[in-house]
Amino acid sequence: MQQIISFINKNKYLLLFLLLESAAIFFTIQSHSYHSSKFVNSANFITGGIYNRINNFKEILILKDENKRLSEENVNLKNLLNLRDKSDSNKINTVIDTLKFHQKYNFISAKIINNNYRKSNNYLTIDKGMNHGIKSDLGVINSKGIIGITKSASSRYATILSILNLNSRVNVKLLKSSHFGSLSWDNKDYNTVQLLDMPIHAAIKIGDTIVTGGKSTIFPEGIPVGTIKDFRTKNNNYDYINITLFNDMSSLGFVEIIDNLDKFEIINLEEKSLNE
């Protein structure tokens, strides 16, 4: 016992260093795994608050682009409204039976207050949190396409795992033929992502549109992702398929978070059938 105490006394400087260093390495390893970085993130009161202040200055710079994007979305929505059937609009009495409607997705609007796109593991921070209904594993989009998936949330802020992250995998499909693949990023260009696991019999061309697949409970089907930029075949397989994103990941402003209201029902059902 005496010897242990004297050993600790002699080496306490080294032991302190080793203790703190292993704590740091522990946080690092935790942050590399997809689901468990709960402690060190920018969704807390102090960092969220500071990022919010910084963003108030930056916001002025992106207002012009953001206005343009909103007016484009408005035009699209107005066009959709005008697509109604002629015979339908001539009817005078419209009966709305709310029982026939079933709301599957709930959209929450939020503002990005910190945007990373230059690193190998990029995260975004938004100004909405658990108080506004944000949980982990919700899809994040804007009118142009997908952005990422929420990771951790505090009461007022939340972090988003960007699709520009080495850990990110999103289920996507070809718009024209509904072949499924998964989306990942090779950490080179922030406007280009890669499509993996595409079967060779799916005939693809440069310029084909890629949308989300709807096979997971996170994103609804058909959210735009991007177009095929180039690809190469090797050994009767696709070697790589590069996709140009519709979104400019370097200038993001307002986003929508998608909460799938049927998520628990689907997950419960899937677990039940697995156990049977």
């Binding site: 400087y13 703190l20 740091a24 942050s31 920018s42």
Partner: protein, 167 residues
């Protein structure tokens, strides 16, 4: 609370804010963001054994990690260079023991101070990028990033040193 303690506290908070508000948004040549916050390690008074610096450097790195969502990468790297700075300084000066009363780097000869800063900066950056990628297949990009960002950081550290010593 003497003057030295207040100075260190101000330096600690000031460097974190400078790093978050300005330096992480530079993106020079696409991806180069200097880590000027390690200036704290260089400006901290030189003492023989100092547990306070070990604690402070850990929390300095961890604060940066909180902002950048990077786990414990910066904490591990900053802590490591804080731990090895005295042995490195000894070998740079070529002495078995240092005169701890001089307490500041400014009085060192320029070439030796420069070597000391370069060694610690590159070790720090290598740990940061090594842990960020965490794979041997990314060796090339780790070295490129360490080299380019390291040069940028060293230049900024030297500029800050001339400003501080002029006062």
């Amino acid at each position: 609370m003497n003057r030295e303690t207040i100075n260190i506290a101000l330096l600690f908070i000031g460097l974190i804010l400078l790093q978050i508000v300005v330096l992480d948004n530079i993106n020079f040549l696409g991806y180069i963001n200097p880590f000027l916050y390690i200036l704290f390690i260089f400006l901290y008074p030189i003492k023989k054994i100092d547990s306070t610096l070990i604690f402070l450097s850990f929390f300095l790195g961890l604060s940066i990690d909180f902002f950048l969502n990077s786990g414990g990468i910066n904490a591990a790297a900053t802590l490591f260079i804080a731990f090895i700075r005295i042995p490195v300084l000894k070998s740079v000066l070529g002495k078995r023991d240092i005169d701890y009363t001089m307490s500041s780097l400014k009085k060192l000869p320029f070439a030796k101070m420069y070597t000391y800063i370069v060694i610690l900066t590159f070790i720090h950056h290598f740990i940061v990028f090594g842990l960020e990628y965490f794979k041997t297949s990314h060796f090339e990009i780790i070295f490129i990033k360490t080299f380019l960002t390291g040069i940028f950081t060293v230049i900024l550290v030297m500029i800050s040193f001339t400003f501080i010593s002029r006062r």
